[in-house]
């Protein structure tokens, strides 16, 4: 009896605490599961849509137009009619994922019962997109061919510009490397600070004559270094598993630079959170509400093109998207400054802003003492 009563007392107390802290239980019980279902369900379950493809057509006959209009039907592709040079530029700068070349005499040759080859240049750095695009071309070409009583009147020749054989692992690796930076920044920045404060080790630094800025910078740099270390481990493991690094040593150095810049941003961010956090549970909430979505909505696991339209803006404002995109560009496509610069500017701006916010709020919690 007494034992049961003790259990009840403990239970009662826990429930009281739970009820008195309305945010946590509601968020835990309802919001998170819903959020996961929405994110997993729509971000990864959907088909890849709205893939931009450039069209270079050297035939204006009616059959060419009919073929192209069949390709453009539905939501899979977004066709852009361009000149050959413009098409090439777009493919390089990630403006399109593929270029389709309709050869001269397409209409005439089909009329005369000949087979026609259509060349499709693809960016295979995102294998899901390349495959979805190729599958769509194959399907359309088959039903178009059926009009002429043939299986293969129109044949699509797939030509991967950055090389073939990019596997899902290659696609996933850059995202996972950047995820490692994100997650370890949270632990070596935020969590570390909270523990320091709780266990008084921060006090030891605070009574010593070293400057407040030195404490902050020392902590942030240590956090960045720890994050880079885990990022390098992740990168090495990926390479051992056969992930290729397209741009060699310079590429490796660039990935480290990316880790450094984004690590700075994430540490600043987690420091800003940590200075507001007094309970470890709150850190878990931050993890679930902010950090995990940052990872899932970064295009690290699956292309952003597979997200429903309403979700895309979230990916666009997510700094992880740019960090992941940059790492993937360097690792798979090689160093193409056109796209890389945009990513670098965005994550650098994020890093500087977060560093300032983080160190400011850290300083504020030092009790206003010089």
């Amino acid at each position: 009896m007494r034992f049961l009563r003790e259990i009840y007392v403990v239970f009662w107390k826990e429930m009281l605490v739970w009820v008195n802290n309305p945010m946590l239980p509601v968020v835990r019980a309802l919001v998170f599961p819903m959020m996961w279902i929405v994110i997993f369900g729509s971000a990864f379950g959907g088909e890849v849509n709205h893939i931009p493809v450039a069209v270079v057509s050297q035939d204006s006959g009616d059959l060419a137009l009919a073929y192209l209009s069949m390709l453009g039907t539905g939501r899979t592709l977004e066709l852009k009619y361009t000149s050959p040079s413009e098409a090439e530029r777009l493919l390089r700068s990630r403006g399109v994922y593929g270029v389709v070349y309709i050869p001269a005499g397409f209409t005439e040759r089909l009329r005369s019962g000949e087979r026609v080859k259509v060349r499709l240049s693809t960016d295979e750095s995102t294998p899901q997109i390349a495959n979805a695009m190729a599958a769509h071309f194959a399907r359309v070409s088959r039903s178009f061919s059926a009009r002429f009583g043939m299986e293969d009147a129109v044949v699509v020749e797939r030509n991967a510009v950055y090389g073939r054989g990019v596997k899902y692992l290659d696609y996933l690796a850059p995202g996972v490397v950047m995820m490692t930076i994100l997650f370890s920044s949270i632990f070596s920045g935020g969590l570390n600070l909270i523990l320091d404060r709780e266990f008084g080790t921060l006090k030891m630094l605070m009574v010593s004559p070293i400057s407040r800025d030195a404490i902050i910078l020392g902590k942030i740099f240590a956090g960045v270094a720890q994050s880079i270390a885990s990022g390098v481990v992740a990168l090495t493991v990926a390479m051992l598993m056969g992930v290729h690094l397209k741009s060699g040593a310079l590429g490796f150095a660039l990935v480290i630079l990316l880790m450094f810049i984004s690590g700075f941003g994430f540490i600043g961010m987690s420091t800003a959170f940590a200075t507001r956090i007094t309970q470890l549970e709150q850190l878990m909430v931050v993890m679930q509400v902010i950090i995990m979505p940052m990872w899932f909505l970064s295009g690290g696991l699956y292309p952003l093109e597979s997200m429903p339209d309403w979700m895309r803006p979230l990916a666009i404002v997510n700094p992880m998207t740019y960090a992941t995109d940059a790492a993937r560009a360097v690792m798979i496509r090689g160093i193409i400054w056109e796209t890389l610069l945009v990513d670098l500017v965005v994550i650098s701006a994020f890093a500087i802003a977060m560093f300032l916010v983080g160190s400011y709020s850290f300083k504020k919690t030092l009790g206003g003492v010089k």
Binding site: F199, T201, K203, V207, S208, P209, I210, T278, G367
Partner: protein
Amino acid sequence: MIIEVEKLRKEFNGIVAVDSISFSVERGEIFGFLGPNGAGKTTTINMLTTLIRPTSGTARIAGYDIVQQPEQVRRRIGLVPQEVVLEGDLTARENLVFHGMLYGLSRQQVESRIPELLAIVELEERADSKVKTFSGGMKRRLELVKVLIHEPEVIFLDEPTVGLDPQTRRRIWEYIRTLNTEKGVTVFLTTHYMEEAEQLCDRVCIIDHGRILDIDPPERLKHKVGEGEIVEIELTARCEEFVKELEEAGLRVKSARGCRVSVVAERSEKVLAEVFSLAQKLGTSISSISVREPTLEDVFIHYTGRSIRDEQGGDTRIKQIARRLKH
């Protein structure tokens, strides 16, 4: 005066933790802050060591203002906070080296000071063991010398023996005396243990609810309760009448709680005779009686009407953390 405190005050969200206190500490002294939990001891130390900013008032340490010249102050002080702030995964030596480096000492300088310091607290043999393998007492000892690495003029010890067993506590007192005499360092300590204040301190400041009740050497404080001794009596019945009768007979009843009565006696023989005859007269019997010297406990009761022990029980480390995690 190495510490001069002037109307130092700290409020937390309007609640006064330290209420405009003023006092000073002489160079070379062991000065004790004695008070129950929540009296404002740690808050005072935090202000004096520049960890928090006073709401008003200020203090000078070795001539430097804690608000205006915090860095100068920090160079001249050492703090052993209530909680252990050693890095458990580092060895004793590494902890000392890290600490010295915070104060701008080179590794060699620190290394050259380590043997002597570890010898004071008899930890030479454990210099290269990880601190997490140390007992609570050993960690305290290491902290005591750790703050001496940079040769401070004053060290602040916040409840230096809380949570330690009586034997270890006595050893720590010895070490603190040694530091004070051999290194000539001024010691400012806080405690809620009576014996600690009595045995160790040159002067004791009694603090309660953020206010100073009195400052004097322990002996002088005890004399303020009354010259002489204290007779403690426990009765079996008719306690209230007994107390009344005692007072009517002109005896100084210091405290009476139920059937436990204590009386201040300049000449205890006379008081004892009186007590026995009164008990006989009232037809009650005395279950115990004792005569003792007054302690600081009596002084505290004298000033506050409460026993410091009532609210004793310094938080354990776990409790402290749990409490802070909760708030």
